[in-house]
Symmetry: C2
Subunit: 231 residues, 2 copies
Amino acid sequence: MPRPSAASAAAPAPQGRTGRPPVTSRAEILAAARRLIDRDGWEKLTIRRLAAELGIGATTLYHHIRNKDDLLVLMLNQYTAELGRPTLPSDPRDRIVAAATAMRDALASWPWAAEILTADGFVGLLDENALWMVEAIVAGADDYGCTPAQSVDVFRGIWYYTVGEVLVRANTARRRAQDPDRVFSEAFDPEKLPHLAAVFDRWAQFAQRDTYPEGLRIFVDGMLAKATSRL
Amino acid sequence: MPRPSAASAAAPAPQGRTGRPPVTSRAEILAAARRLIDRDGWEKLTIRRLAAELGIGATTLYHHIRNKDDLLVLMLNQYTAELGRPTLPSDPRDRIVAAATAMRDALASWPWAAEILTADGFVGLLDENALWMVEAIVAGADDYGCTPAQSVDVFRGIWYYTVGEVLVRANTARRRAQDPDRVFSEAFDPEKLPHLAAVFDRWAQFAQRDTYPEGLRIFVDGMLAKATSRL
DNA sequence: CCGACTTTTCGAACATGTTCCGAAAGTAGC
DNA sequence: GCTACTTTCGGAACATGTTCGAAAAGTCGG
């Protein structure tokens, strides 16, 4: 099990350390992956290419990362660390909204987010550089007067909404890269689906707007109101 | 491009039809896929196994389905057709909630839903047996007094929330099959993440409850209220 | 019966993520 | 120097989804 050892790279034998000396490190892998993505695009980031970039065997990578999802989560953690944390508003409600928006923005600017968002226990793999957003949401709900259970509910609802938005956004973006922008391929039968047929030709236009913040505020307000009214 | 021809299977030459006679059909493929899933579980549904079940070459399948995602969407459409449509409440708000809940339930009882939920333009691939839920939501918003744009917004928000819930649910279920049920693998540093540390040991318990309906109602109420207040 | 045309079938091949397992390359004790 | 022991490396192999191209098996017009 490779501990996050302090050695960055080819320090021959940092201490009384036994075993074959490693030719690479986790930090080097992350750097190479980033290089590869910046140069060729994130679709080109494969295990074998990454190994080639490092000049090592493909399977060697699996001694430093658990699997590809794990690698992407590590990169996301590193990325969020660079983003830094904004100063959050003092009002609990505004703080929740700000943290959730930061969460969305971080994932939205991460085009391959959809790849790992579906990973098992994704939230549990994040480190403190990303978890401050979760903390801020739960803390905000707490400060507003929610019980612990209600605070967790607030986060879960926001999380569902955010995951769905990022995922749909990523996939429609990927589709727009090929087809013209149209969500539905063919028109609807006005007999059976009258309302959908009526908005058919404007759907793409409507769906193009970013309604995440509006929906978020509505959700947060509703959750907080309901939670505290029940006390 | 194989049209949805009426031929179910090995009708030798239904009409003046040219070309090599097909040895299988889309309907047979769907039936075999279902058989395979019922017998061995949905993880075992692979292209090659499916072809073997049908006694045909693996690549032959690609003349009847576009790809595996397409196959799963076809199966979902077939499944929703069997589910039938509930009688919806007359009150617009209740109708929206009922349709969204039906949407969630259909996907939740579909353990491999997460596989295709991330497919490009997923909603655009559904047929009328599934789209009635979308229609009902848009119609409900319309009847409540929303503008077309607002109605689309209502659906989109619900859709994000639903997709996220189904996806997270599916993945935590998959994880629970291996590990004990714990979302976070290790405890939090009480210094940096105090609120998360405080609820750490109760998180799994809280997260186990089904809060989808509650969050949905809050969201729908908020969206409808805000939309009509702006007229 | 024969050649043109059309549609379907399917084996070979490719890239991918990942597991297995033996080899390599060090240190520690003697 | 020699023998453990430990850790890392990496090639072979596997299953997966999918593409390509050539062969097969029909119909149609003569």
